[in-house]
Symmetry: C2
Subunit: 280 residues, 2 copies
DNA sequence: GTAAGTTACGAGCGACGTAAAAATG
DNA sequence: CATTTTTACGTCGCTCGTAACTTAC
């Protein structure tokens, strides 16, 4: 049987146009390449080139061989990346979530349970999460609704309730509850990468301007040094313990009082049994 | 990049079950195979086997690699056979015909014109001929009707008229013309491999029994030594020159007075221009 | 003359086989 | 003890690079 490196050489010759240039690209001497192609022809029992004294061109066989070579090399490269991706996936616990808060809780749990695994988490749209679960990009996804699929188990995991954190001097700070509509128009501090929350803010508070911060620390600094309202959640210590400078007022909209579900392919149930037990 | 022979070895191991047996099948020492697989794993940067002290089994990566390896090896083998088939086709002039007579004429013409080519001819049903022309199994096919396809040129080539050759003593031998229905029921001598003629005989002379001979010589011997009627055609010298023992009577059915057409893919027009000129 | 290709020849490295060791049933 | 696998080591062969030659523009 011929060898893959000979097919690579064939492609290189097609790309470079001449043996010499191809040899250079392949870090090979030109005579070595010449002989390698002679061996390939011998192996295939077919001439691939039209040889003139100082010129070599593909003949019809060569053109055909080139097409086959391309697919074979392509398959070989696919094999390598598929294997390496599979290997990585074996040692990586990938979680996708539609919001950041569940990850704050779940990541430490997993890293304690699966000590030899890398944990990788994404915040994505629900659609992206679901297709990621089907394609085994995620072992676990966290959504706001259980998945309606017999091959997937959805476990109720957490409830999240949002508050608005107002400075005491704020005109609305005496209210017992508020809706997003009530605070629409306010300029607010907001974290980035908050998944579906951002879409809700944009939709329900179209007149507000959001000062977006990437880092929690940066946001906290701004919170201290400004009178801007922010959001808070029941899922962080920082959100719950009333801040000296802020009064937390519950938000009433159903969209900001959600239940999160952990969704796992049934085929992964066994592998993740320890994890499943821990979230129930 | 890894090499194809390593993939072949991988398959051999999967088939044989143990390194030792696989090595034997591969005509390789067992340690050599062991190291070759170690190199493959190194190359892929992925372990493929679960190694115990004196036992080696595929792991999940290995199973996946095996699937990829199968398709790659398969592609490689396909490449070899496709190239060799293509090479052969380049040096072979393949003609398919629905009847033998046109081949008697056309074959010598082609062999004179294309001296470096092998001529290969088949007698097949019209359907098989047409699909063979499309798949480049035939460069030329001979049919009884022109093809209705803009990519194919159909050239009128020959007319063939059948006669029935009766012994002078035969009751019908004084007729000026006959139809197949008139001689239905007669036991007749017939050549084999006569293409669509055979179907016509069977259809139009359902009550006849046909003594079929593979060889022309054998048929001629029987013709001399028996009084059995046979068919004759305008396309052979032997058919035309009246035989002392036979009287040739024209058959009137339209089915046995046919025009043959040479059909050639337009894409082959250039390559076959010499041939096309010679048949017009 | 430069740039392309093939052939000739010597050298080095890489894959092979043999031998040895270790483990299992 | 037979079977299976890995490691160690020396050898052989294959492929490489250099050099020389030929041809074309």
């Amino acid at each position: 049987m011929f060898e893959l490196n000979q097919l690579e050489q064939l492609l290189a010759i097609a790309n470079a146009g001449t043996l010499s240039k191809a040899a250079e690209q392949l870090h090979l001497s030109q005579p070595a390449l010449s002989r390698s192609m002679q061996r390939l022809e011998e192996e295939l029992q077919v001439t691939l080139f039209e040889r003139q004294k100082n010129k070599i061109t593909f003949n019809a066989n060569g053109d055909l061989a080139l097409e086959h070579a391309k697919t074979i090399i392509n398959n070989a490269e696919t094999m390598i990346s598929a294997l390496q991706a599979f290997e990585r996936s074996q040692h990586t616990f990938s979680i996708g979530s539609c919001a950041p808060a569940p990850l704050w809780r779940i990541t430490p749990v997993i890293s304690r349970q699966y000590t030899d695994m890398t944990i990788q988490s994404d915040i994505k749209s629900q659609d992206a999460l679901i297709s990621g679960l089907y394609n085994d990009i995620y072992q676990v996804i966290i959504t706001t609704h259980p998945l309606n699929d017999p091959d997937v188990c959805s476990y109720k995991y957490l409830e999240e309730h949002l508050y608005v954190a107002l400075p005491p001097a704020h005109p609305l700070s005496t209210r017992k509850k508020l809706s997003l509509a009530d605070i629409n128009g306010q300029t607010m501090l907001l974290l980035s990468r908050i998944g579906f929350w951002y879409d809700i803010c944009k939709e329900k508070m179209p007149d507000s301007y959001f000062i977006v911060q990437d880092e929690v620390e940066a946001l906290n600094e701004l919170r201290k040094s400004s009178a801007l309202p922010t959001f808070a959640t029941n899922l962080t210590a920082q959100g719950r313990t009333a801040d000296a400078n802020r009064i937390l007022i519950p938000l009433t909209d159903s969209e900001v009082n959600v239940t999160f579900f952990c969704c796992i392919k049934k085929s992964n149930n066994h592998r993740l049994s320890k994890f499943i037990a821990s979230i129930q």
